[in-house]
Amino acid sequence: MNIKIVVDSISDMPSELITKYGINVIPLLVRFGENEYKDGVDLTADKFYERVAAGEWPTTSVPSVGEFAELYERLSSGSDGIISIHVSSKLSGTYNSAVQGSGHIGSECPIEVVDSQQASMGIGMLALVAAKSVENGDDLPTVVSKVNSAIPKVQCFALLDTLEYLQRGGRIGKGAALVGGLLNFKPILKLSDGEVFPYARPRSRKKGIKKLIETATDFGPLQEAAVMYSTDSAETSGIIESLSNLTPDKVEPFLARMGPGLGTHAGPGSLGIALLTN
């Protein structure tokens, strides 16, 4: 079976995974004013956060129907099917664009578009499930069914430095409950049913990191885990160490950089964990 896997750039998948499993990443578009960049292609995370730090304000936009159609067309030749896994349709129009794009191709190659109900490595966890299923020689319906049944097992949490980015990007959802009060705290948000929910209110980053670790421990043991960061990789070391103890062979969790697309909404100083539970 030659089955192709597509994810969007909001998945933040590290390059080693992309290379290892031959995953295709379709970039979202990140804009500074009228200048448009392909997320992670002609705009690196470093450059992106540098511009944000300098006071520029980014916005994102979904890949066009045509871009999806073109990618699917290209991948379809000689392949037995395509599974295309995307950021929660409640947070982005990417899924819709992909569905539209899949209807525009001429070939017979079946395409299954999946709404991950997740973001960042939450999508990545599902792509891993797909990749392992493909490796196992499964046919497209089996791969899709394995991915769909893994959706409720994915847990994704993020500790943000500020809710400003999420709020300005219009993606804050119920996380708005954590906005602005007398008491300062570092918000921890949870992605659930494809939406952003408030999760915890640690008063310092240190406590926030501790809370992320406790949360992962509560969900353990884990099949897979990932740790995400936007600007400070040093802060992830403690989380990586603790999460290693929760996976079967004490495998280190994947370390992923929140790219420009996700970073537009999470902002600098963000940390996250994505878990695939049993």
Binding site: L29, R31, E34, E36, T59, S61, V62, S64, V65, G66, E67, A69, E70, G93, N96, S97, V99, Q100, H104, Q167, R168, G169, G170, R171, K174, A176, A177, V179, G181, L182, L183, N184, F185, P198, Y199, A200, R201, P202, R203, S204, K206, K207
Partner: protein, 556 residues
């Protein structure tokens, strides 16, 4: 460019040829480009992210590049140009509005087919196709958006076609029709009415069609401003999104109001009906002559006024709401979504009260010196809470017992988290999650109690020696975890002494709540001094307004 290339005309054309169509959409792009910011500013639906204008302009930019490319390469026939436009819009479609717009171009391209020139009749077919494609492209078509405008454009084209109108008249009529549609969008889509805007995408389409119309009748599009239909004073209307966002924060919550009424004689059904007119999530419970009303409302006074007509209002859950409305909203229960667990807390001071409300307490009991709540005070609040599962934070060791007694008098499940200070209470409330069950909340809070150290600064009323510290009446004293630690003649000194012993104890964050007896300027000065002395510690200064001490301090 050839002689048949892009230029302005004097007389309205009778038919749309490739060059006419090209010129029309180049003008539309120029016009929408000049209106990007205004369209962005109106964008509240589906996601209030302020990019509708940019998305529409980027989509048309890609169309206009394709037009120029096509003309420059010699393809000026209508079928070639409309196909190139359709493809370019599909590739260049940005955002929701862009996707819908690309379907619009797809419709034109389908309607044109292989024709080299079209009239009003064929344009009507193009618009019909555009409407069908646009509606089918959206998973969940919502009226009051660009889609409604496209439907109206198609309807108008059909009328013009049947009437045998000229192109000029078709586009004049269409523009009039779109403006009416834009004006009406808030009536079709309530979120627009709430944000007091018209739909951004529909207005974008109005601009595009103004571009088309102006080009057809030979008017320039340079330096032209297309007013927003149905809106006045939109100039200087720079960030409605921000206003709307702050509104939408409140919108999700509304106010959870509960009223206990005695001597009621009105039938519960009748009351339920009446309250349903005021709010939702209405629950009316009649226990003998006692009546309990629960509702989620936007206007609290409206419900209270009605409640007063029913009998004697014994108590209500918003009786001590005296901090700002929007600050309250965040702490209150989401409409149509009852809490799994409710939080009740004893407070002292306005600022402290606000902190607890912001952290999700649905019932507040005023405490403080000489104001110890009675068992029945606590019981009333327990009964008023929307949930059957209650976390009670006494925040004073002398109130724990009253809480325990109250918990024995109710059928509800009450967990008392034995907080002895407000600082501990706040740290527990930070863990509160109304969606979690009682035990999960309790477990997190029992841990949270131990995570902070509570201290306070007060004035000594008499000479004494305690824990080896001698105190002169009128001096300031520092107490930490219930132990007298230090006394001095200035607040600065006491503050310094209290923190000095903690510096080696891994304290990272110190929150100072200044009390009702202190001036804001003084507390700011203390804050400034102490921050400069302990640079390894983060400090936060909060207007607690408590009356039981000068400073409440939490150290963690």
């Amino acid at each position: 460019m050839s002689s048949s290339s892009l230029k302005t005309r004097n007389k309205p054309p009778s038919h749309i040829t490739g060059i006419v169509l090209a010129n029309m959409f180049l003008a539309a792009y120029e016009l929408i480009h000049a209106h990007i910011e205004l369209v962005n500013a109106l964008n509240v639906f589906p996601v209030p992210d302020g990019d509708t204008g940019t998305n529409m302009a980027m989509t048309l930019k890609s169309v206009s590049s394709a037009i120029k490319e096509s003309v420059n390469s010699g393809s000026t026939e209508l079928d070639d140009i409309s196909k190139a436009m359709g493809k370019a819009s599909l590739m260049g479609a940005r955002g929701n509005s862009g996707v819908i717009l690309s379907q619009f171009f797809k419709g034109i391209s389908q309607g044109v087919g292989d024709k080299k020139s079209i009239g009003v009749e064929e344009w009507a077919i193009c618009m019909e196709r555009a409407k069908e494609s646009a509606y089918s492209a959206v998973g969940n078509p919502t009226e009051g958006t660009m889609l409604t405008a496209i439907a109206e454009i198609s309807r108008q084209a059909n009328i013009s076609s049947k009437n045998g109108d000229t192109l000029e008249s078709l586009f004049n009529q269409t523009s009039i029709q779109i403006k009416e549609t834009v004006k009406n969008t808030p009536q079709l889509l309530p979120i627009l009415a709430e944000a007091e805007v018209v739909d951004a995408g529909a207005y974008g389409l109005d601009i595009i069609f103004e571009g088309l119309r102006r080009n057809i009748i030979g008017l320039s599009v340079t330096d032209v401003e297309i007013p927003v239909p149905g809106m006045k004073n939109y100039k200087g209307f720079t960030l409605p999104n921000k206003i709307f966002l702050s509104q939408s924060i409140n919108k999700n919550y509304g106010f959870c109001v509960q009223v206990l009424i005695s001597d009621n004689v009105t039938q519960a059904d009748q009351i339920k009906k009446a309250v349903s007119q005021i709010g939702d999530s209405v629950v009316v419970i009649n226990e003998s002559s006692m009546l309990k009303i629960h509702a989620h409302v936007q206007r609290v006074e409206q419900l209270l006024e009605y409640a007063q007509t029913l009998g004697k209002v014994e108590s209500h859950s918003v009786d001590d709401m005296d901090v700002q409305k929007e600050e309250f909203a965040a702490g209150y229960i989401k409409a149509n979504h009852p809490e799994m667990t409710s939080l009740i807390s004893v407070v002292d001071g306005l600022g402290i009260k606000q902190v607890f409300i912001e952290l999700g307490a649905c019932q507040i009991i005023d405490g403080g010196p000489n104001n110890s709540p009675s068992v029945s005070d606590i019981l009333t609040k327990i009964e008023l809470a929307s949930s059957e599962n209650i976390i009670f934070l006494p925040n004073d060791k002398n109130i724990i017992l009253a809480g325990e007694q109250a918990s024995k008098l109710t059928k509800k499940n009450v967990e008392i988290v034995p907080t002895q200070t407000l600082q501990q209470g706040i740290n527990c409330a930070l863990e509160f999650d109304a969606e979690n069950d009682l035990l999960k909340n309790k477990k997190l809070m029992f841990t949270a109690i131990k995570e902070i150290k509570s201290a306070e600064i007060s004035t000594a009323y008499k000479n004494t020696t305690l824990h080896g510290v001698s105190v002169v009446a009128g001096e300031f004293v520092g107490i930490s975890d219930g132990q007298l630690i230090t006394s001095a003649s200035t607040i600065d000194e006491v503050l310094y002494n209290l923190l000095d012993i903690e510096e080696n104890n891994d304290v990272e964050l110190v929150t100072l709540y200044w009390g009702a007896d202190l001036l804001k300027e003084d507390s700011k000065e203390h804050y400034k001094v102490i921050r400069s002395k302990f640079q390894n510690i983060d400090f936060e200064l909060i207007d607690g307004g408590q009356s039981h001490c000068i400073y409440m301090i939490s150290m963690e």
